[in-house]
Every structure is written in structure tokens, then in C-alpha cells.
Amino acid sequence: MSVGRQAIGNQVDGMGVRVSVERRAASIVTPPALLAALAALLAASVVVATALGTVRLPYWETARIVVAKALGLGWPVDATHEAIIWSVRLPRVLAAGVVGLGLAACGTAMQGLFKNPLASPDILGVSSGGAVGAVVGIFLGWAAEHAWLVPAAAFAGALVTLVVVYALSTRAGRTDTATLLLAGVAVSSFAGAIVALLYHFVDDGVLRQIVYWLMGNLAGKRWEHLAVITPLVLGGSTGLWLLARDLNLLLGGEDDARALGVAVERTKRWVIALTALVTGAAVSVTGVIGFVGLIVPHIMRLLVGPDHRWLLPASGLAGASFLILADLVARLAFSPVELRPGIITAICGVPFFLHLLAKRREMVRWS
């Protein structure tokens, strides 16, 4: 039958013919091993990112502070250092992890749903809608007031955008994915125009705040922010993972999926809603950070294959580590100047992806 394959044994098939069982080339890492490695990477990233920062602190002291605070021990620690580690750095690192996980998971789901390699969490226009919400909130002076007004406005903007985009592309209960894509792009552009328009009516100070927000920003994240976005992001991402089999079947086309028993419209609704929830939550707190949701799923797909049951958790873990480390580099590269994490994600993500792509072309054939 074929030359150069290793025959392990013989088996009788239904046609009464003896054939040899062929083993697939073992060049792909087994999924469980990869997940374990990614989890370890995440843990290491959290540790390293907490230990390093603009202000140099000895590692043992960092460890001591974290252990003391986490276990509630009353060890005497320097109050300022404790404030830096526990109140400034650790929440920021964990927020980066949560946001990275959410964006990567959503990117995976979007790429699966649209069968489009360029799909990312922003594709539904959710991030742009969130941006408009946030900008309007900043414009109305909410940034200086309660800590939650601007994130809430961003989240509201994200959900409104989702409803608009969904309504534009759904007729008689059926959502056309091509229209969804176009509607998302159109709404994104529209939102961008609104933000640009608002620039004209704001003074310098507000303009600066808007730019902060739009460029993606992890500074100033606190435990309260984490407390709200973590359940939303983890819950939503877990929801997407539960839909992994459906996403697998949808990869073959909607008709084929329907023939196999998938409730296609309902699944699409769930995936879109969960994506909006997770992306909205992430964006509302950190602004728009690009590339994580686009690059990470691709890279993971090349390593672990297209099966969403493994791909989603792998992307999530990898996305979390990626953003944590990108933020670390952003903080330290030109210390004390702090770069936007989005710059680092772009610089790192693209070349790595190109490299992997050159090596594993057979995995990425999109039908």
C-alpha cells in the first residue's frame, strides 16, 4: 500500500483482507504532555513576573511577602515592599494572565466558528464597541470618579455591539457567518470613526486618558478588578471548552455538522455570546490588547492539532503565559519607560508564527 511506513502488526478488516496497521509519525507532542508543560510554564511566568519589576527587590523577600500574605501569616515585612509586591505587581500579573487566557480562548473559538485564520476576538466588533463605551465614559468624566464606571461603560458598549452585529446577520433564526464577519468589520470601523470624532471635542487631558485606554493598559489593576473579571473570563472560557466537540464538528461545515446532530444555530449563539462576554470583560479592564487572540491559537493548533478539546485549554494556558511575559518585557525592556504590552505581543507573535508555519504546512489547510 504505501512505502516507508512502519508496520506494527496485522489486523483483519471487514473485507476479509489482511492489512497492516500503520502508525502515524510521532512528531506531534501528545496533548496531555503539552498541557502539563503549558501549565508549568504559566506557573513559572507568574513567579518570574512577580519577582521582577521596575523596582528591584530581592527574590527571597518577594517570596516571603507572597507566602506571608497568601497564608495570612503575621511575619514582619517592609510595608512599602509588601505594597509593591502584593498590591501593585501581583494583581497586575494575574490580570495579565486572566486576560491572556480569555483572549486566546476566544480567538480559538472565533477561528473555529468562522473557519478563518484571520479571525480574532475583535472580529465581532466587540473590542471596538467596548472602546466606544469606554471613551464615552471617559468623555463624561467618569474616569476620575468611581473605579467601575468606565469598565462598566466598556462592557456595556461591547454587549450593545454584539447585539447589533448579531441582529444584522441573523434572519429567521439562522445566522450567516459570512455576514457576521462583515457586520463585525463594519461595526468596528464605525466605532473607530465615533472615537475619532470624539477626539475633536475633548481637551488634552481627556485625550490622553482615552489614548491610555485604547492602547491597552495593565497598570493600576487591582484585586477588585481581578475579582470581577476572573469569574467572567474563566466561566466563559470553560463554557467554550464545553462546546469543544460542537466546534470540532462545525469545522467540517454547517451542513455536515447538522447532519451529525449538532444544533448549529444554537451552538453559534452560545459561542458568540460567550466570546462577547469574555472579550468584553477583558477589554473593559485592560483596553484593547491585540495579537494574543490571533497568534496564540494558530501556534497552538500547529502543536496540538485542531481538536478543540485540547486546543482550547492549550490556547488558554499559552495565552495567559504569553501576556504575562509580554507585560514583563514591556515593563522592563526600557525601564523605567513602560511600553504598551500590545507592542510586545505584536513583535513576538508574528515572527514565531511565520517560523512555525513554514515547518508544518500540512496542518493548516483550511477548506
Binding site: D13, G253, D256, R258, A259, V262, A263
Partner: protein, 260 residues
């Protein structure tokens, strides 16, 4: 007396005002191999989609084993009806085992794991289609014939009562064409399922199908065994070619197309 397993009652299907199917009524008998014939654009694929429940008819209804198809949930329907479409799209790195196990989706509850009957169904489907030895191969690495058999196995894993095949041999080499059609016939006999197959090669249809349904511009113009349905006049009207049919007694054996 043949049992009716699937019925279409005055089924019509419109897309943006254009009728792709009009007023199609037919009854599919249990255990038969029904061939759906017609030139491109006649509505073969549309009919299969409507009969299998993937698409909802604009008018009329489809009844499966006495129950209206639209009343069944997607899962319920997938346990009784399976479809192998013309160009199944799985251009990704799934293994043959993964692809065939997709057929068990309709049987597994939301968070349930593999059950013995699931495993049995998949193994049986792999064996029946002769691709068990390929189970760890990536589907993108297989030849056309092998791939077609894998999709057939996926449909079989659903343990359906009715199997719909849309042009199963259209893109295959001749040797694979014969292989797959023989396989279909064997499966029909062994598994006892009913097969509705869209096919555009008249000779294969004549050779393998019990009955033929001929579609022309969205309408059913003939239904019955090849002997009573196929004649030169019909072929000229529907396909626009002159032909000569060799018969063995009453039964057509070969259709020869004539120029001019």
C-alpha cells in the same frame, strides 16, 4: 409489501424566490437502494438536504417512520438519518479515528464519556468500510478513495436507518468508484439500512440501484425500477442527449450515449 420508511409530501424548496424543488412527492421503501438522477442543477443535492432534514422545505413536509421530520430534535434525527455530502470538508489534522467518532455525537450526552456501545459502533464502522488499519492516519494524508470510505464510516457510526449519499463517487478514480459502490451495496445488505444516493452516472445507477428517481428542473419526473423508468425518450428530455439502451429482457443493462 414494501414498508415505507421515508415519505416526502408535496415538498418544495425556494431560495430567494427561485424554486429549486417543486411539488415532489415520493415514498422510500425500507431496505432499498434508491438512486436520484438528473443533470446538474436538477435539484439532487437540494432534495437530499431536504429529505435528510438538513434543510427545511418551503412547502410540504417530510415524514420519517411516521413522524414529521421537523418535530425531531437535531440529535434525534442524527440517530436515524446520516448524510455523506458531496465534498465533506475536514481539511484539518484530524485522525481517521477522530473523524469516525464524530458520528457518535448524537448518542453522547453533554459531558458523557465513551461508552462501550460507542466504541463498538466506531470499530464496526471502521471494519465495515475497510479503513481500520488507517485509524491513526491524518485524514488529509489519505487518497480520495480512502477518504470517501472514512466519511462513509462516520455516517455508519451513526447507526442510521436511512443513509443519504450525495455523489459518493463523483471525484474518485474508476477503481475506487467500483469499490465504493460495492461497499454501499454490501453495507445495505449487512446493516439493513435504506440508502438514498444521488448519482449522475446512469450506468452505475442502473447497475446498483433498486429504484430510480429522476429529477428535472426541480420536479420528479419518474420514479420506479430502471426497467419501467428508463427509456430513450426520458433521457433525451431530461439530459438532452440521444441514447441507446441495451436491455436484458426488460431490464436495462447499459446506456450508451450517442453523438447528435
Amino acid at each position: 409489501m414494501a414498508q415505507v420508511v421515508l415519505q416526502a409530501e408535496k415538498v418544495g424548496y425556494r431560495v430567494r424566490g427561485r424554486p429549486l424543488l417543486s411539488d415532489v412527492t415520493l415514498a422510500v421503501e425500507r431496505g432499498e437502494l434508491l438512486g436520484v438522477l438528473g443533470p446538474n442543477g436538477a435539484g439532487k443535492t437540494t432534495l437530499l438536504r431536504v429529505l435528510s432534514g438538513i434543510a427545511r422545505p418551503s412547502t410540504g413536509r417530510v415524514v420519517l417512520e411516521g413522524e414529521p421530520l421537523e418535530r425531531l430534535s437535531d440529535r434525534e434525527r442524527a440517530r436515524r438519518v446520516a448524510v455523506v455530502s458531496q465534498n465533506p470538508g475536514v481539511g484539518f489534522g484530524f485522525t481517521v479515528w477522530d473523524v469516525v467518532s464524530m458520528g457518535r455525537y448524537a448518542y453522547r450526552r453533554f459531558l458523557e464519556g465513551w461508552r462501550p456501545e460507542d466504541r463498538r459502533a466506531v470499530e464496526s464502522a471502521l471494519a465495515a468500510t475497510g479503513v481500520a488499519h488507517l485509524r491513526h492516519r491524518l485524514i488529509t494524508e489519505l487518497s480520495g478513495g480512502e477518504r470517501q470510505r472514512v466519511f462513509l464510516a462516520r455516517a455508519l457510526a451513526q447507526e442510521p436507518r436511512v443513509l443519504f449519499l450525495d455523489e459518493p463517487i463523483a471525484n474518485l478514480d474508476v477503481r475506487y468508484q467500483l469499490e465504493v459502490l460495492n461497499l454501499v451495496r454490501v453495507l445495505r445488505a449487512r446493516q439493513g439500512c435504506t440508502v438514498v444516493m444521488a448519482i449522475h452516472d446512469l450506468n452505475w445507477a442502473v447497475r446498483f440501484c433498486d429504484r430510480l428517481l429522476v429529477l428535472h428542473q426541480g420536479r420528479a419526473v419518474a420514479l420506479g425500477p430502471a426497467a419501467s423508468v428508463l427509456d430513450e425518450a426520458l433521457i433525451r428530455d431530461v439530459f438532452g442527449v440521444h441514447s441507446r439502451i441495451e436491455r436484458d429482457g426488460n431490464r436495462p443493462v447499459r446506456v450508451e450515449f450517442l453523438t447528435a
